[in-house]
């Protein structure tokens, strides 16, 4: 498995393991949606961010130590083509999210619902980016 594919897996797993529980807690109503300063909500979000950074750092340090030669190689034209394709798919998700969160939600929702929906759409777009990248590498395309 090439280094860039392993890296994409690390990103995907880190996102799912850090923000998955956060959005699950929010969706289940375990976090109060009260106004600012909602330290509990911000604390959960900060914890998810820190967890993601730790997983990304740990994963990439491990990858660099296990295959230093591959890690030093810059992305080639196929890597860039796959990243470009993945970015296209993620962009559609992000723009759909922006229209939903900014164009529709203000008419029937407010506060943390909009904030968390924004975070969710950004996270979803990131997931789509890395899922498309991993699938492209798996299909050898």
């Amino acid at each position: 498995m090439p280094y860039r594919e392993k890296s994409a897996w690390v990103y995907l797993v880190a996102i799912l393991l850090s923000f998955g529980p956060y959005f699950a807690l929010v969706a289940a109503g375990h976090v109060p949606m009260e106004g600012l300063p909602n330290l509990r909500m911000m604390g959960y979000y900060a914890s998810a961010c820190v967890a993601q950074v730790i997983m990304l750092a740990g994963g990439h340090i491990y990858l660099r130590l296990s295959s230093p030669e591959d890690a030093r190689t810059p992305p080639d034209e196929r890597d860039r083509a796959l990243m470009h394709r993945s970015r296209n798919w993620a962009y559609y998700v992000l723009i759909t999210g922006a229209i939903w969160v900014g164009g529709f939600m203000p008419f029937f929702s407010a506060g943390w619902y909009i904030v968390n929906s924004t975070f969710f759409m950004i996270t979803l777009a990131e997931c789509v980016y890395y899922i498309t990248l991993v699938i492209s590498y798996r299909k050898q395309s």
Binding site: P2, D76, E77, R78, D79, Y137, Q140, S141
Partner: protein
């Protein structure tokens, strides 16, 4: 305008004829990874024109000895 047709290549045979050059060695010479050479050989990825010329240059043959275009019937 029809876009049917496929690109095939003889990279595997050319590598074999050049002292059984590995995919990694070829990739190193043209500046791509071994996985990219494997994808090109399998016909899953079409390289840029520059990479195609570089591959032909490594084997010291014209471009159309490396890559062949088979247009769709009636195209």
């Amino acid at each position: 305008m029809s876009t049917g047709g496929t690109i095939s290549n003889r990279i595997r045979a050319l590598r074999f004829n050049h002292a059984e050059m590995s995919q990694a060695e070829l990739g190193q010479q043209i500046g791509v990874t071994r996985q990219t050479i494997a994808a090109i050989e399998a016909g899953k990825y079409s390289p840029s024109l520059e990479a195609a010329f570089r591959i032909a240059q490594v084997f010291n043959v014209p471009l159309d000895e490396v890559f062949q275009w088979q247009g769709a019937p009636g195209a």
